[in-house]
């Protein structure tokens, strides 16, 4: 099965060149690393170049940067209060990185960084690590109040606290798997329908006529995947804000 028909093939990591290895650790530059750097270059280039003019009346491109800024700033302010604004660069970087790499991954023959488990797990662990360290550093033992909902009788607490602990522990899992699963499944589904087009067109005229249906499906699914790409970036960001809010104000 070639690249065009095998839906799994798009996740292959291909080595482009290697920087050699340090202490047995391969510093290979792969297509995954290339796409990460491309995402970073697009985000930084966009934000820095469009705001170069510092226009008092913004141009259209500058307006996109400003709207993104205002959107994220507003999201943090409404969910964590003004105290959460110190995490603004982090949340902004997370949102733009996930959004751009999700959307880039939708282009044919592009590699989808966010459909690599290790990438989403690393981002989720980064968020949860910051939540735990900041929460403990700022609140000390009071941080444990996130496991104890207020206004609940002691007897019920015996049941509720383990559930809260479990829910807290499942947060990094669900945070990473949601992004990973959505992008992976979306990419596979689009690829499966595109593969139908390829294999049907090989069957001659009848096949080509029959391929119209999966082609239309591929187009529709690509549109849906653009929606999902933006939605998952938003979901990851809003959950990050909610978790950061727990670290800033424990005890709900």
């Amino acid at each position: 099965m070639g690249y065009a028909t095998n839906p799994i093939k798009q996740f292959d990591i291909i080595e482009i060149f290697s920087f050699g290895s340090i202490n047995g650790f391969d510093l290979v530059f792969t297509n995954s690393a290339l796409m990460m750097l491309v995402s970073v270059a697009i985000i930084s280039g966009w934000l820095i170049l469009t705001t170069r003019g510092r226009g008092l009346v913004p141009s259209r491109l500058q307006l996109v940067s400003e709207i993104t800024y205002g959107f994220i700033a507003n999201m943090i302010r409404t969910s964590t209060g003004s105290e959460g604004m110190k995490f603004f660069p982090l949340v902004f970087s997370l949102f733009t990185f996930i959004l751009v790499s999700n959307i880039l991954g939708l282009y044919p023959y592009f590699f989808s960084v966010s459909s690599q488990l290790i990438v989403t797990v690393a981002l989720a662990l980064l968020v949860m690590g910051i939540v735990i360290f900041y929460g403990v550093w700022k609140n000390g033992f009071k941080f444990l109040k996130i496991f104890v909902p207020s206004g609940i009788p002691l007897v019920v607490l015996i049941i509720v606290v383990p559930i809260e602990v479990l829910s807290f522990l499942s947060r990094p899992l669900s945070l990473s798997l949601r992004l990973f699963g959505n992008m992976l499944a979306g990419a596979i589904v689009v690829k499966v329908f595109a593969g139908f087009v390829v294999s049907l067109t090989a069957m001659g005229l009848i096949g080509i006529i029959g391929a119209i249906l999966p082609l239309a499906m591929t187009v529709a699914l690509t549109g849906l995947e653009f929606l999902v790409a933006a939605l998952q970036a938003f979901v990851f960001t809003i959950l990050t804000c909610v978790y950061l809010n727990d670290a800033i104000h424990p005890g709900h």
């Binding site: 969910s79 669900s174 949601r178 499944a185 938003f234 979901v235 809003i238 959950l239 909610v242």
Partner: protein
């Protein structure tokens, strides 16, 4: 080869779990829509809507993950 077949069947069964997540997501969006249409002032709860959607959908993704694990890892 029987093991391979069992994995495939197991993966297929595991994806049924996503149907539950689909029902849940449908209920969330449907209730949001009916609430927002009855009382347009309630349409400002968009963030909570997305939050509920995300939490519900994660459970479906778990079953998808089980299917993927069965197919490619175990």
């Amino acid at each position: 080869m029987e093991v391979e077949a069992a994995k495939m069947i197991g993966a297929g069964i595991a994806t049924i779990g996503m149907g539950g997540a689909g029902i849940g997501v449908g209920i969330i969006f449907g209730n949001y829509l009916s609430g927002a249409l009855r009382n347009p002032a309630a349409a400002g709860q968009f963030t909570n809507l997305i939050f509920g959607f995300a939490v519900t959908e994660a459970l479906g993704i778990f079953s998808l993950l089980i299917a993927l694990l069965l197919l490619f890892v175990v």
